[in-house]
Amino acid sequence: MTDSHTLVAEHVRLGYGDRTVVDGLDLAVPPGRITTIVGANACGKSTLLRALSRLLAPSSGQVVLDGKAVHTQPTKAVARTMGLLPQSPIAPEGIAVADLVARGRSPHQRMLARWAVADERAVEEALELTGTTDLVDRAVDELSGGQRQRVWIAMALAQQTDILLLDEPTTYLDICHQIEVLDLLTDLNRSRGTTIVMVLHDLNLAARYADHLVAMCGGRLLASGTPEEVLTADAVEQVFGLRSQVVSDPVSGKPMVLPIGRHHAVSPATPA
């Protein structure tokens, strides 16, 4: 199976120019599991994913894929093992959905090589899984935000990698499509053992769909472990500066965060 791939960040320091964003972070991605990363805006989640996917070189420490520093490995080989859906990908003007999703096959193609049956299958399957088959001939820039997001996910799926990094894959999606995408990723994880790392902003969905939950705060790893271990009212307060109550989700049995604002609390709430 595919859960033999290991991905580890070893004490990485990441930044842009002179500015350090993430400092001394250690993270071992559990193989064959779903890891979700939560944290406040600008705490460095996307930066961490960029480093994992080897776009950003750490100024100290290293990211290790299958026992070797990811930056020393050939780019194309890495791209056959690990895919990334960035937070805000860009579509060239006028490109058709089919052509965009087909670009997910790039790391599997050689120069001038012909488009193979396997490529075709991968693209068709990705379109089907994301419910975008009907959109194939449409231009990407004419789609709604949610349709476009599903097309991007299809492109990442077409890459057929054993590790998949997704930066806020549910943005723009309505609640039904959010659940659909997360279910789809879970299917992928269960049926193929795909290792999934994703950033999510919805704490409750993050807790429900995670095997492993990572909470980041100010460029550091605040806590990591099972959702039950990580998602406590204390942690929520530390990460987001928000008082809350954590209860058990009646549907999944996972922890569920009920934020306490300044209004609308029935009785003076006492956080657990």
Binding site: T75, I90, A91, A98, E120, V136
Partner: protein, 349 residues
């Protein structure tokens, strides 16, 4: 699933759509190619004396044809080849920059790279009095240096965008004034030659001028085409491109050096032919549509623009205008349109 290999499933909608779009892109490129060929032939035939296709063909084959051998072989052929290759070089380099920086304004003639080549060439010829071969060398060094300066000034945490374009426009203005200054200061300077360096012209076409450009194109164009796929992926942003297996920095460097060198050779031979690099890509995109590499269509469009503009400049009006005057008249309104459009959208450049 025991279907025999002879009864393959009907092609899916996905496959059909992709094939249809690819075929229509190829068709459009082929039409462009035919148009270029036709214009090239016309450039060889018309002039003060008309020579038919048969005579022109015999000259090209190297046979001696009274009159035509000199007029076509020595005067028109180098000029037409210069137009063809310089146009292709400008078009391909232009669309490369526009694609890489995801902005139609980011073409080398807008952001000062052509101006760098042209300033170096003028200084080389007028002030240093070096010969033709060295002029190309100077132009390349200067174009690369200009690109480097713009890059360093615009580079901020790896983000290239509007800053680069604005800085480039400023540098272009500075270098253009260097060209103007040198030309004005030069004593016995005839207008034709001056026009070549101010707007670009094919009047200086001799084999000595054309050959270095042709050789450069033979080396550099395949180098650029080899990066076409990576460049397409770079359009999705560095994150996506890298995740799809593109060596982002390396691709960018290769592409910049090859495109800048193409611009430099073309400029050294024909001057900074106004707006061809800027116009070829967007026109090609209109003609062939999205979804594939625009390098070849833009190169063809570049040739088409230069050959057509030169024909028009030579024969359509009472006076003869250098090619750059005609392309300049065509390009300026588009530049204004782009600026107005971005301004309306309230966006940045």
């Amino acid at each position: 699933m025991s279907a025999s290999p002879t009864t393959r499933p009907a092609p899916s909608a996905l496959r059909l759509g992709r094939r249809r779009r690819a075929a229509s892109r190829r068709r459009a490129a082929a039409v462009l190619g035919l148009l270029v060929l036709a214009l090239f032939a016309v450039s060889l035939m018309v002039g003060q004396t008309f020579y038919g296709p048969g005579e022109v063909w015999r000259v090209i084959l190297g046979q001696e044809v009274p009159g035509a051998s000199f007029t076509v072989g020595t005067l028109r052929l180098p000029r037409a080849v210069l137009g063809l290759v310089a146009g292709a070089a400008l078009g391909m380099a232009g669309v490369t920059f526009q694609t890489m920086l995801r902005n139609p304004l980011a073409s080398p003639d807008i952001i000062g790279i052509s101006a760098g080549a042209s300033a170096a060439a003028v200084v080389g010829i007028v002030v240093l009095r070096v010969d033709e071969a060295l002029v190309s060398g100077l132009a390349i060094v200067a174009a690369l240096a200009t690109a480097l300066v713009i890059y360093l000034l615009a580079y901020r945490d790896g983000v290239l965008g509007t800053r680069l374009i604005l800085i480039g426009i400023g540098i272009a203005a500075m270098l253009d004034s260097v060209v103007a200054y040198v030309i004005v200061r030069a004593a016995a300077w005839d207008l034709q030659v001056a026009m070549r360096w101010l707007t670009g012209s094919l009047n200086g076409a001799t084999w000595g001028v054309v050959l270095p450009l042709v050789l450069a194109a033979v080396v550099l164009m395949p180098a650029l085409l080899g990066q076409a796929r990576q460049l397409e992926l770079l359009q999705h942003g560095d994150d996506t491109a890298s995740a799809l297996g593109v060596r982002v920095e390396r691709t960018r460097l290769t592409v910049i050096v090859a495109a800048v060198a193409l611009i430099a050779f073309a400029t050294a031979a024909a001057g900074p032919i106004a707006f061809v690099a800027f116009l070829a890509g967007p026109i090609a995109a209109r003609i062939v549509g999205a979804g594939g590499s625009l390098m070849v269509p833009a190169a063809l469009t570049g040739s088409l623009l230069v050959l057509a503009a030169d024909l028009a400049g030579q024969h359509l009006f009472g006076t003869r205008y250098p090619v750059g005057v005609i392309t300049g008249v065509l390009g300026a309104p588009y530049l204004v349109y782009l600026l107005i459009r971005t301004n309306r959208a309230g966006g940045s450049l």
